[in-house]
């Protein structure tokens, strides 16, 4: 079996991609209008929503960057993962019920729709849509680039595709993503998410078992090796220190409720009462999949220190080296399919909300109505958005590496800082005003952008994202309190009593 390792991995990925294409064709027959395309007509059951929610949370970063971070800075990066239980809980307490109710009451199909309904303001809708488009470009470009790089690494290991180029890999991987997103919209996206989530859970569990067998003494021996080399790396705050760790605790814990690609999925369930089971199911799925992040990172750091494997060229190689050295070829095939699943499940969610922002929200904010024949234009813009993101990714890779990095600054932390106060607090507090919302969004974008562009380094590992988030929360509440309380539309006012 070892002789056919590359073929098995390629086979697993091909099967997975064929499944995505078939799902797109199936979902196309169920997509009749823009509501179906963007929010699946609010017809989804709890298991589908739960799996879609957690698989969209854990992107390719969790499978590649996560283990790499543990290899690099030890336990510090655990904080991004272990806070997930609190993050999910807070997201459901603050957002799940109200966003679902407003979506049904006002026929909303996007997050900016919800925001305009709540604040009765086209300016807030416009700012929210612009934030989403900028964030989507950064996220999509990095995801597409990651997908292409992994595909190139795998295919170049076979005789047939030994000389395959990165551009070809971008085209191949993007084509599959675009196909099922264009044909089936969010219906294809969430049903592929179900399988993607299942693959990620299986991969996480099997990797944990494999990782525990690398050292005779299991995980304890691995952590002991790290402790002897540098105790702080395996202590609670890791090599990056207490404030970097707590910064992630803050941004990932509170920030989950501000991620547009996640909270949009809270609008899609058929029955409000399903939320009671969606929360624990989502969390369970996430924990199972995230086992891979922690176990690979710890074992690879220990294995390198102990001389079991040579030092890695770069931390992000941790997962691929682990799979090639320690994993059975079949397991490697499942995990690589899981990696593509993780990347695609996040990418399709971003394609969907980015398209909604462009053809639905920005036109509504600017001229009071969305484009005619929304479903047709949704499909066209999905293709264009993916092509532009792929071009950004390639340009960044070959010409200017800062481009995607700058757009990447509009990642999780910026969404968290600019969207959490406006949506998560604003949907639960009548006193939130338009001025408060605009101030919070603008401040969050400015602080994140300036700290990224100017390369500002805060002491003790404090991140610009943490500063932006803390500032936007204070400004949102503070400015709302000192400006005139808004007169809410009657239905929204009544809804906020529920």
């Amino acid at each position: 079996m070892e002789a056919y390792r590359q073929e098995i991995i390629v086979g697993a990925i091909v099967v997975y991609m064929l499944f995505c294409i078939a799902t797109g064709l199936w979902a196309m027959r169920r997509t009749h209008n823009s509501s179906d395309f963007f929010i699946a007509g609010r017809h989804l059951g709890p298991i589908v929503v739960a799996l879609a929610l957690f698989s969209s949370t854990l992107s390719g970063f969790g499978f590649v960057g996560g283990p790499g971070l543990v290899y690099s800075i030890g336990v510090s990066s655990f904080w991004m993962v272990v806070i997930s239980s609190t993050g999910y809980a807070l997201g459901f307490f603050l957002v799940a019920k109200r966003i679902r109710m407003i979506a049904e009451l006002r026929d909303c199909i996007s997050l900016p729709d919800v925001v305009e309904a709540r604040y009765d303001s086209k300016l807030v809708r416009l700012l929210m849509a612009i934030t989403i488009v900028l964030g989507v470009m950064g996220y999509l470009a990095t995801q597409i680039l990651a997908m292409a790089v992994v595909m190139q690494a795998i295919l170049s290991g076979t005789e047939t595709f030994a000389d395959i180029g990165l551009v070809t890999c971008v085209v191949l991987s993007s084509a599959v993503l675009i196909f099922y997103c264009v044909t089936g919209g969010i219906i294809a996206s969430v049903y592929t998410d179900v399988v993607q989530g299942a693959i990620m859970m299986i991969a996480g569990t099997l990797i944990l078992v494999t990782a525990m067998s690398v050292f005779d003494g299991g995980m304890q021996e691995a952590t002991s090796v790290i402790l002897e080399n540098d105790a702080e790396a395996i202590m609670p705050y890791g090599a990056a220190g207490i404030m970097a760790s707590l910064g992630w605790f803050f941004v990932f814990g509170l920030g989950l409720a501000g991620q547009p690609h996640l909270i949009t999925k809270m609008m899609m369930n058929r029955d409000m009462r399903d939320n009671r089971s969606i929360l624990p199911m989502s969390l369970f799925g996430y924990v199972m999949a995230a086992l891979l992040w922690i176990s690979i990172g710890i074992v690879m750091r220990a294995a390198v220190i102990d001389g079991v494997v040579p030092p890695l060229d770069q931390p992000d190689d941790a997962a691929s080296v682990f799979l090639s050295v320690f994993a059975n070829p079949l397991l490697a095939g499942v995990v690589f399919a899981g990696l593509f699943a993780a990347i695609m499940s996040t990418s399709d969610a971003f394609l969907n909300i980015g398209t909604a922002a462009i053809i639905h929200d920005i036109p509504r904010a600017v001229r009071g109505q969305s484009v005619r024949n929304e479903l047709f234009w949704a499909r066209v813009v999905t293709v264009l958005l993916a092509i532009v993101a792929a071009s950004f990714a390639l340009y960044s890779h070959f010409r200017d590496a800062t481009l995607v990095a700058i757009l990447g600054a509009f990642g999780w932390g910026t969404f968290a800082a600019s969207i959490f106060p406006v949506v998560a607090i604003g949907l639960n507090w009548r006193g939130a005003t338009v001025a408060g919302a605009v101030t919070a969004i603008v401040a969050a974008l400015l602080i994140n952008f300036v700290s990224q562009l100017a390369g500002i380094v805060f002491p003790y590992g404090i991140s610009g994202q943490l500063v932006a988030f803390a500032a936007s929360m204070v400004l949102f509440i503070g400015v709302s309190l000192v400006t005139s309380p808004p007169k809410l539309p009657r239905d929204i006012d009544a809804l906020m009593d529920i």
């Binding site: 307490f93 109710m101 402790l227 705050y237 090599a239 220190g241 509170l254 309190l481 529920i498």
Partner: protein
């Protein structure tokens, strides 16, 4: 209560921002955010843990405690104030207490290791790290139980459902009236 709760959330947010400022202005420690490993490229070392926490350790722990308090306050903001009762406060208070105990066990465990240089292990990790990993992960379970098991009592009761259905019916009636009015005028 919700109107007063927002003041509590603001106060905690301001205190956290103040702590960030205080930490930023604290006496700097070299390589507090890690340093490059001399032997393995891409790997970072934490170095002297006691030195890194000397000026900001207590402030950092206080920041963590305030964050946990903020999480519980924000969770309460998501519950209609009609359901604020002694029982609800007890559940939320208990959830907070549980999270604070986990945080203290982690912080004090780390301090104990820095003092003695010795640690026990639990499920593969040094004790303090086990509190951080398993404890933090499980720390939100009480909140999740309050949400899932208390869903019909605190989040979305039968009364809530009836009120929401009424809102939908009012909306449908208003739309129906708006559609029929032009025809009626013509007749």
């Amino acid at each position: 209560m919700a109107s007063r709760l927002i003041y509590a959330i603001l106060i905690v947010a301001v205190l956290m921002a103040g702590l960030l400022l205080a930490i930023g202005l604290a006496e700097p420690v070299a390589d507090a955010g890690g340093m490059a490993h001399p032997d393995f490229p891409g790997m970072q070392l934490g170095g002297d843990g006691a030195a890194r926490l000397e000026h900001i350790g207590a402030l950092g722990f206080l920041f963590q405690c305030l964050l946990l308090i903020q999480i519980v306050l924000l969770s309460m903001l998501g519950v209609s104030e009609r359901y604020y009762s002694g029982e609800f406060y007890a559940y939320m208070g208990g959830s907070l207490l549980f999270m604070l105990i986990v945080a203290w066990q982690m912080y004090s465990g780390h301090q104990a290791y820095l003092d003695s240089g010795e640690t026990g292990y639990f499920l593969g990790f040094p004790t303090a790290t086990a509190w951080q990993m398993y404890g933090t992960w499980l720390g939100a379970i009480p909140l999740i139980l309050v949400y899932s098991l208390g869903f019909s009592r605190f989040i979305y009761s039968d009364e809530d459902e009836a009120r929401f259905k009424q809102l939908l019916q009012d909306k449908a009636a208003a739309e129906s009236t708006a559609e029929s009015t032009p025809d009626e005028l013509e007749q």
